[in-house]
Amino acid sequence: MNEREWGRLNPLMIVVRPLNELLGLVPVLFAILVVGDVDLIRLGIAVGTVVLVVLYGLLSWLTTKYRITESRVELHKGVLFRQQLSIPRDRVRTVDLTAKLGHRLFGLSAVRVGTGKQEAKGEGVSLDAVTAAEADRLRQEFLRRAPEAAAAPVEEHQLSILDKAWYRYAPLSLSGLIGVGAVVGFGANLASELDLGLSDSGAARSLSAWVTSSSTAAVALACVVVVLVFSTLASLVGYLLQNHGYRLTRQADGTLRVRRGLLTTRSVSVEEEKLRGVVRHEPLLLRLGGGARLSAVTTGLASESGSALLLPAAHAAEATRVTDEVLGSRVDVTLAKHPRRALSRRLVRAVTPSVLVVLVLAGLSLTASWPTWPWVTGAVVLVPASVLVAFDRYRGLGHGLTPRHLVSRSGSLNRSTVALERAGVIGWKVRQTFFQRRAGLITVTATTAAGAGGYEVIDVGEEQGLALADEAAPGLLRQFLA
């Protein structure tokens, strides 16, 4: 293709875009058509929706065009609101290729380009979609720095690949539980909406008979078992869908590439030169099970959407190995502890809310004839648990410096350890609340262009924290120290 000419998205998108939308609606449509009372109005609405979706797909295909010139990537799009996007090619930091099921049926892929700018969701240049071959060509094109370099396939070096044993870390996340909750809520809603009359069915009746005849303990145990089984299954399925075929490679053109996904496949390429660090996530359950997750600190990737993922829930040792490989230096140093005074702050902050909850519940049982078991349970379970969390949070606090990175760890239920490149620090924030001032503690934030924009070292001793900041980025803070 001549690079100066305007290209269109693949015409198959007229079909694929609506198909992707409709695939999500299949269970609902199925339920409506098969189980529910089909009347003309519902059918009309369903058909009308399909027609509108297809029409919109056609219009957006007609109105979207893109081109890549020597210096810029340009995209014109929009049906009602015309948008003309243009970004300099040398500002492209990441390329994200996503192929949903509908795309894959036709061998297509969506291309999303991330720049150094902090982007809101939905912004940025996204080509949805082009053929998989064109997508791969664009990926190399966008991240190619020297214009003369041949567009021949580049060599890749494998850093990590999915190990079947990692599936045992899947149930150690709450995503399964959330998934089960969502499905149950959606199902119940749908059932009542469609008048399926589940409550009259034989199974439901024998279930309710069993519940009324059994002891509370047995019912509670049964509920726990059912929830555990289903959430485990859901998290395993989720892990399979998201991380099947996971591979992390280092390309010879200076990018890191993550490929994964069963139905929706995803390939995220990150320019290594702009990679500013790695965050290691160890939520409580995963940590107890000896696992960890990794995500990249880089510009051009929304940190929440999962596109920054470097390693899915995996063995802790593997996480350490991948971190070292990706950053090119060891960052699992022994971290300096924070002053003992930070523990009292963690205790106050964790215990106060749970004590308040217990007090409110106790007050309600005294005045508003609430039962006593809620506040007794709260006092026996919630308060001690929050004390434990506070101790664990304090134990988790730590910071350190390696020759190239600033390392900071915090959190208990959601522990994370960031290794931030010291050269990527572009400023400091030092925060001290009234109570921190009395305890001689500060919270130091290293600001950076990448990832969350800033990474905190929480409740560090005043001198300790300033010494850290001074040493991490020499010559910056020194002039303001007294």
């Binding site: 350190g400 400023g427 030092v430 609340t433 005043e462 001198e463 020194r478 002039q479 303001f480 007294a482």
Partner: protein
């Protein structure tokens, strides 16, 4: 704690690590601005609480009590906060950095090297115009990095913007 020996074993020549206050105070008129803004905020809360009292004839005693408590809090806050804030809010620009301190009960120091500055803006809200004040915002490539100096005299704000624009233009690179 000595703080003399860093974790890399570098020997620091600074005896004690303590952030000093930035050199310059903001305009004294900022106290008026902060007091007015706090007063207006509290007024909204008080009016919101007074409406049900006036409308319902059977005024409940606890409504009166919360109203009185709010009034006391509001007056105390409006009287104390501006003075406290005025002592805290300070700024300084050097050849290579912008340094500010802001807040009152909770204080925050912010530091941005001039080499990483992307934009320098001034803004004047309606209340600020009333007092002849302006806010200077210095942004960097970080989403968490903007350094703002609130309550500056308009002339001082204009001078800071000119200075910073001149120094940042002399610096090359994409400041990330």
């Amino acid at each position: 704690m000595t703080g003399r020996r860093g974790r890399l074993g570098l020997v620091s020549d600074v005896e004690e690590h303590r952030l000093r206050a930035p050199a310059n105070l903001v305009s004294p008129r900022a106290k008026g601005l902060w007091a007015l803004r706090a007063g207006l905020g509290w007024l909204v809360v008080l009016v919101g609480q007074a409406v049900p009292l006036v409308l319902s004839a059977a005024a409940r005693p606890w409504l009166v009590a919360t109203l009185a408590a709010t009034a006391v809090l509001g007056v105390a806050h409006t009287a104390v906060m501006p003075w406290w804030r005025y002592r805290v809010h300070r700024w300084e620009t050097t050849a290579d950095a912008v340094f500010t301190r802001a807040g009152w009960a909770t204080q925050e120091w912010r530091l941005a090297p001039v080499s990483r500055v992307q934009t320098v803006d001034t803004a004047r809200g309606p209340l600020q115009q009333l007092f002849g004040l302006a806010t200077v915002t210095v942004t960097t490539a970080s989403a968490q990095g903007p350094v703002t100096i609130e309550g500056l005299d308009e002339a001082v704000a204009a001078r800071i913007v000119d200075e910073l624009t001149a120094t940042t233009q002399a610096t090359r690179g994409d400041a990330t």
